[in-house]
Structure formats: C-alpha cells, structure tokens
Symmetry: D2
Subunit: 306 residues, 4 copies
C-alpha cells in the first residue's frame, strides 16, 4: 500500500501502449497532477499539446488482459485559480436550422470565458466576457473528463474520444470518492488521466467544462479474472455503467446491457428480475454530447441491492 | 375559477380535433379520472381500447393558435390497488446482439408483473412473478405518461407517440405540482390526458411504468400571444423543456434549442450568456427511450435565474 | 376494369379516414391529376394549401384491414411547364459546424430556383437564379413524392412525413411502371396521392425535387389476406421494400426486416438462405433525408429470384 | 514511374505510424498481395491475425501532412478459389424485436458459407451450406474493403473501423479502375490495404463480403498542398466523397459537406449553385452498415461537370 508521489514531465494525447511512467502495485496510491485540456499546468504554463493531454500511463503490477482495474479517485482538486470555458453551445446540440441563428465568431477566432476558481471557497466565478450573467458564481464540483486504459488490439485512441477503454467521457459523475472500473486489455493496464473540470453541466454542451489543472490522488486495485465490457463505477449511493457511442441511443444500449450483465453476475438477478427492477428504478445521466463518441450512464440506487 | 367535476364516459387513442367533452374557462380547475394504458378504470374494468386512452379533450375558452396553454397538475393519485408492468427490457434499449440472449416468451404471449399499490402508505409492492426480488417495495411517484393538445395541421396523432403537441412523453418529471406548458394549435387548445404511472424508471425501458388508473386534478391558464415550439414545464426548483424525436440526439437538439429561446425571450439572456450558463449548469433527464419518439428534457435550476 | 376520369376539387394535407372522393373496384384504373407540393395546379393556380396536398382518397371496394393494396403507376406526367426547387442544401444534411458557413437568406425569406419543364422534349431546364450552372438541362424522371393510405389507429398523419402507411417518402424510384404495395388499415384502404417531382436527386437534400403538377393514371388491385408491414414495390428489374424512420439506421432496419419477411413468405427462403442472398446481392437506395421520417429502400434484383 | 513488386511478410491490424515496408516515389506503381479478413493468404494459409490484416504501410516520398494521396487501383484480383461469407444478417440491420426471431447459432459457434471463386470465369458459386439457393452463382465484382493512411494525432486505429483516414469502409465502389483520394496526416502518408471481397452487397449486412485474398496493383500520386477532409474518389462516370460515422445520418453529413467543398474548390460552384445541382442530381450509396462506423457515399455524375 505504497503512496507514490509522481510529478509528470511529459503527457500523451492518445491512450495506447505507451512507455509507463511508473510501475505501481495492486493497492497502491498515487499523488500526482494533471494539466488542463489545452496543456497548461498549475502555473498556467503551456507544458503539453492539445487535446486533453494525459498524465501516465501507470503500469499496475499484476493486471492482465481479462482483469478489471478499479481506480478510486481519492482527491480531485483544482490547483490554480484560472479556468476557462467556451462561450457558445456546440452546433450539434441545437436544431440544425438554429445553428445559423447563433452569433458565431469569425472563422478561426475562438472566444473564451474566464473563470476565477477559488478552491478554498469552493467556488468558480465568471470574470469575462461581460454578459447579463454578471459575476456568476457556481459551487465547485471537480471531475475528471478523460481517463482510461490502453485499448484493445494495439490501438492508440485520441483523447478527444472514448470507448470501452474509457477516454474522454466528460461525465460529471466522476468526482472525488467515486470508484471507476475499467476493463484491462494489456499487461499492466496502463492507466492515464487528465482533463479536469472545476464545474461542468450535463452533456458538456459548450464543448468544455471549466477547464483547469488538478492535483489528484487515486488508488488502484486489480480484480483478477473479472471481465467487464464497458467502464463501470460506484459511489456511496449508486452503481453505474457507462456506454460511449453515437447516437446516444447506442450509448444507452451499451450502458444498459452492461448493467444487466452486472446484475446477473454479481447480484444473481436473471434478466426478468433485473428488468423488473431497472424498469421502475433505473436512472440515466448524460455524460457528454459533444465528443466524437457520446456518453450515457445507467445508474441503479444501491438501496435496491441488499 | 370554477372547479369542474368531470366523469369520462369515452376515451380517445389519438390526440386530434375531437369533439370536446367539456368547455372550461381560463383559470378553471378540473377534477377527473384517467384509465390505465390498456383502458382499465378505477374498478379494473376494461372501459376503453388500447393504447393509452385519453380523457378529454377539454376546450379552454379563449385559447387560440399561437397561445400557450399552462396546465398545473394539482393532484395525480392512483385510484385502485392493482398495477402492472412488463417484465423484460425492450429490445431497442440493449445491444442488438444481446437481444437474442434474453428469455423472450413465445410469440404472442405477454408476461406481466403485478404490483399492489397502496396510495395511503405511498408504496407499490411487487406481487408476481416470483423472482429474487421477492416483495420489492418502492415509494410511489405518480406521474402522467401521456398528455397534450390537438396537434397542428389537422393531424390526429396516436397516443403511442409524441411531438410538439406533447403526447406520450413518459417523463417521470410530470408529477403533482408541476406546471406543463403546451403550444396551442387549434381553437380551445383541446387538452387530453391519461396513461398514469404509479412509479416509473427513467426511459420507461421495459415499455411500461407501473400502469394504473388515476384521480386527477388540474388547473389551466392561457398565456395569450405567447408562442412556444415544444412542451415546457416548471416545478419549484427547475424550468425545463422537452424534445420528442429519434434519435435521442435530436430530442436533445429540440429541448436545448427551446431552452435557449426561453432564456432569450423571458430572461433576457443572449445566446452567449445563455450558453455560458447552460454549459456549466444544465441538466438533462431521459424521458422515454421506448416509444416511437424518444424524449429528452433540458433542465435549468431556477436558482441561477434571479 | 373500369377507367375512371376524376378531376379533384379539394385536397388533403393529412392521410386519414377522410370522406372518399370516389369508390372504385378492385382492378379499376383512375385517370386524375395532382397539384404541386405548394398547392398549384396545371395552370399554376393556387387551389390547395401546403404542404403536399393530396388528391383522393379513393375507396377501393373489397379492401379490408389486413389486405394489401397494389397500385401500379401507369403514367406520371408533368402537366405544366413551370417547376421550382429550393436553392440551398437542408441544414440537417451537412456537418453541424458547416451550417453557419452557408449563405442563408434573411429569416422568413425563401429563395427558389425556377425550371422550365418540357414534357415533350423530356427535359427540365434551369431558368433562374443566375449561377455558374447556366441553363442546366436535366432529363425528366417524373416520380410521386407522397402517396399512401389511411393509417392505422384512427390517425390522420401530415403529408410532410411518412410511416407504414406510405406518405411523404420522396423516393425517386416511384416512377411510371412501378407497382407499389401498401398495407390496408381501414375499409376501402383510402388511397391518396400527390407531390409530383419532375426530377429529384437521392435524398431530396434541398428539401424539394422539381416541384410540379402531374397528370396521373394508376390501377389498383387488392391482395386479399396478404398482410405486409411496410410499403413494398417492384419494377421490371427489382423487388423492393421501404422503411420510413429516423435515423436512417432505423429506416434500414425496417426495410431489411420487411425484405426478409417477403423472401420467407413468397420465395420460400429461410433467414439463412435469405441472408446469404441479400448479403452479397442487396442494394439500398436513399429515399429522402429531409422529411421528419427519413426513407431507405432495400432492393433485390429479380434475376436472383427464379 | 517504377513498378515495385512487394511480397508482404507481416501485416497490421491497425492503421498507424508503423514502420514502412517500402519507400516509393510519387507516381510509382506497386504490385503486391493482400490476405483475407481473417488472415489467410493465396494458399489459404493463416499468415496473419484478425481482423482485416493490412499489407503495408507504404511510405510515399514527398507526401506531407496537408497533401492528398491519390491511389489508383489498377488491378484487384482474387488469387485463390476459396471464399467465405457469414450466413445471417447482422442484428443491427434488422428491427430490434426481429433479432430474437432469427436462428442464431449457439453462442461462440460461427457458421460460414463457402464459395468457389473462379477468377477466369468471373464467378463466385455457393458451395455450402445447403439451402434453397442451391449452387447460386454470382458475377465477381472484386473490391477492397479496407485501405487508408496513418491517421492524425498519433493514433493507431483498428482495421475494424473507419474515419477521415479511410479504413474499413467496405464500399463496393472501390473496384479496379477507381482512384481514391486520402488526406495525408503523417510524412510519407503510410498507405495500407487489405480485406478484399470477391463480391459484396450494399451495406455488408451479413458482416462480410465473399472474403478472399487478392493480387493487387496500385499507383500513387501526391497532390501537394491539396487538403481534403474525408476520402474522395472517382471513376469513369462519377466523382464521389465518403463519410464514415454513426448514425448513417452523420455519414451523409460528412460526405455531403465534403462534396460541397469539392464543388467549390475545384469546380467553382458556390453553395447555391452546388445545392441546385446536387439537389436534383446527387446519388448516395450505402457503404457498410455493419462496422463500428458506417459509410455513406455521395456521388455526382461527371457529365454534369463540364
């Protein structure tokens, strides 16, 4: 149960079988940092390239293809005060004919909003641009937008998208205290993480949360011989499964199928019992509807699972 | 502000310009009843044909095309003890290759679960079939699955589906205390309602909530000259908009566009301000992912709208 | 085998159980006319309201729910010289971010292209606007955009969309010589037709073909007890099935399932034989990707069906 | 204009920046071979791993990011007599509720059809299983299912899917005589090819064409400074663009946008002229509706482009 302190010196824009930055044991904890989606660190210095540069990969001893990697997010804390967001809804989240009505900036020009993030106070405050919102202040809800493991089949997949291996899911439910479960495809699993958001609405519909660098602590555990199909997770109140695909309908299909499998394997519920339970008790969250693959999360309150 | 007591004697399976059952004034309240999705009333007697037979239509004096009809659900109460649900997830909510793994009953045979609904105790208890769930007991959360107005263009649209006019949205957020807003397409608006669920999970993924008949009280209000594009609603904590379409992506587009319009028209937020606010504060709920048109709901907490 | 000459005096904008304009017998032929999508007749006079006003309905004696109505299009001929099209691709057929790059006219303003249709010469020539295309001349390929029967369940469905009953499929394959098959949902079937296009590309991606009024001749036949799920058709070279839904993926699913059923019922091919055949020989056409329901057509060359 | 004869000794299951097997010059021709989708060569020996093992990559001297690589398929010839196909439509191409009606083999068992391919006679004949189809004989139409270049951003993308870089598009239009255009993302472009089909229906709806190994000859050309967004192609009669995405709707959006860009850049047609032309003259082909990304092709007859 070692605690490793790891200061990253380089970052990755794909999740793949890259050279590990650290080997850690099953049960170990890592204290490290992530840069923001555009590669700026705690000092707001550009130290990595876009998009969503990842810290890692961490090689977890003993993890083999067919296992599951559990990662508990012990702490996710913004480590600087400057955050930013985009300022216009993405064109794919509005009606096609409405796109032309929106005030797009001239081609190639990107307009950003600046936020002042006060980790002590637990708030993010809008600094610019000037709008009718004034100094809008929101409670912090720090979450990891992008994390995952090296994917199957020798692939290296961009951090703009997601899949069975995790990746850029941009789900606001990945907060401190959550345990995420990821399928292991390569020896050592090769865990990556990055793209912290101080706050984010469902769907990441402007294409960003409040993008910021993080101090992170996480703890890993290997579930030997436990095979899962899609990312799973749990917090104090829920178990949940994550589907990443387009359209959202397919993301729902993956997440729901994964939940049915989970209820069968670990809770002894056959498809009829699982259907009766889910039918009246399931909840769905929208992860992102912005990235190349969209994300839907299928949740079941733990109180229904004695 | 008259209170009308109306006992239905016939029902409709389409929302269209049918003969009104009652003319009521702007501001009036109606106390009435709805039968369940398959046409059984408070005595569990079959009195109407499937699907989702509707009480109404109610003609609201003064409502004209281009207005908005506000309907507050004052009370939605199951009025019998027998509820039922289907017992297997719908094939369209799981991965296509998983469909063949599910224990489908022989063609033409429909298997139902029975629930005992205790309105006093506020619970629904699973009676049959025998599964590992035993006598699963859930808190009641009564909601209206299908309601709406006569649609545009002289259409009569089946109560299995939904659109700009409302219809079979199966959104668990339409509960007592909520006010729904509907666009008016014909003189008198012609309001219909039915398909009560004692409980329902997000998505209505087994194809039913706990289907049951209701005692209902609602109050109408006409917003003259207020033109909306899609159903809207509000409760104590949220304003929300509803998109009905396939795939879910398109339902999100309708709901999000409608919310942007709302924020512009009534809260003075231009698209940039509205985007900055929604981007970090929006929430989405999944209505149904079972009916011909799926439903997504775009919600904004009222606390961000002073 | 009577030939009826019918001159319409009113039109419908929904397909529903409207009062028949004519009762005809199984095997009869009708010679009639259709107005264009915006309601203008052979004299370019506005005689009906938008959208896609339909001639009919024709009541076919002996047609009952559960039967199939066969309609052979004996002749589809533009009967005036003035045709029109829209002039910009629909926003839903391009990438969302590209929509804002297109030269949309000011809101509320609609820009049209005019075409001179010469039925003798068999050509359509672009008259305006002035573009680099000059006097582009295309060969005529007259097709019916919208036809169908009264739908199931007492519905009246707008002529802007489509479904199991047919409707606004905008498939360029519905030309002279084709026989279309439609499921019968009400006594007499109630056949409607309209929305002729002198020419149309796949997908109807600008939202119109070359819209024009038609002289039409068609012949009906009732297939007693033959139950189909979706529109079917055949020409000299192909049998085909039509799926109407969104997204296109679902339209493909309907059309393919209907083709598998057809091959099973009428050609004795079990699902394995049908799959082997379709897998290597099937063709798909895109009907429309503009209307509320999109259309995909599944085709099999008849030469593979001895 | 050298002609290289290259005999592959190893294969790739991802398209990525792998070590080139050969450096060739702009204008050069390569004569080589591809193995079938499951890795069997001209002698039906297993020499590579699934899925869709690729010959290459070929490094084209002078190709730089931002250029376009033109590849003309000079010859695509099956080089053995044994082909195979799957025997049941994929579950995602039929209605979800129909999936359970199909005769799926026991889990883990894969049933194949065998075909005898006679390159001399130009035919493929069904050998097994025994069905009502008997010895169905089809004309050969050899096509390349999967080819492309190393993708952007340091990715290595599985040969089961496709994207801007090409990949597993399974479009029956990629036959002898066609020139494909691919965006260049890395120095040398790094061209891969494989997955030959002796015959294939639209959509690859059983999940295979008639899978077989090929002798291939192709010729490359670099278009310096020509930047494209998606694969393009041309044959004697058409220019075409390829969109790869889910749902099909999005594939259509990519292909249509790419065609509009092409017409603007190279044929001087502004969006209005291009829309008027495409609206009445465009054709769409369905590539595959089986792989993780679906493929739609937007085609314009060259006769309309003087």
């Amino acid at each position: 149960m070692t605690i490793h302190h790891f200061q990253p010196t380089h970052y990755h824009n794909t999740l793949g079988a890259h050279e590990p930055v650290l080997h850690i044991a099953d049960g170990d904890t890592v204290v490290t940092a992530t840069v923001d989606a555009w590669g700026r660190d705690a000092h707001n210095q550009q130290v990595a390239a876009r998009p969503n540069p990842q810290t890692g990969p961490f090689y977890i001893e003993g993890a083999e293809p067919g296992d599951t990697l559990a990662v508990r997010f012990d702490r996710l804390t913004p480590n600087r005060s400057a955050g930013f967001t985009k300022t216009l809804v993405a064109p794919n989240v509005v009606e096609p004919e409405y796109v032309a009505e929106l005030p797009w900036p001239p081609k190639g020009e990107r307009r950003l909003a600046e936020w002042y993030v006060d980790a002590q106070a637990g708030t993010a405050t809008l600094i610019s641009p000037e709008t009718k919102l004034g100094r809008l202040t929101l409670p912090l809800a720090p979450m990891l937008g992008c994390f995952g493991v090296a994917p199957a089949g020798g692939q290296a997949i961009s951090t703009v998208t997601s899949g069975e291996h995790g990746g850029n899911m941009d789900y606001r439910g990945f907060v401190t205290g959550v345990t995420a479960y990821l399928p292991v495809f390569v020896p050592g699993a090769l865990f990556f993480l990055g793209d912290g958001h101080a706050v984010q609405g469902d769907g990441e519909i402007v294409g960003t949360g409040i993008e910021i660098s993080f101090d992170v602590q996480f703890t890993v555990q290997v579930r030997k011989g436990k095979r899962i199909g899609w990312p799973r997770g749990e917090n104090a109140s829920y178990i949940f499964t994550v589907g990443n695909a387009r359209p959202l309908d397919q993301a729902v299909q993956h997440a729901t199928t994964e939940m049915l499998r989970w209820l069968g394997e670990e809770y002894g519920l056959d498809p009829v019992a699982a259907s009766i339970l889910l039918g009246q008790c399931v909840e769905y969250d929208l992860g992102n509807i912005y990235d190349p693959a969209y994300t839907m999360v299928c949740k079941l309150p733990k109180r229904f699972l004695k």
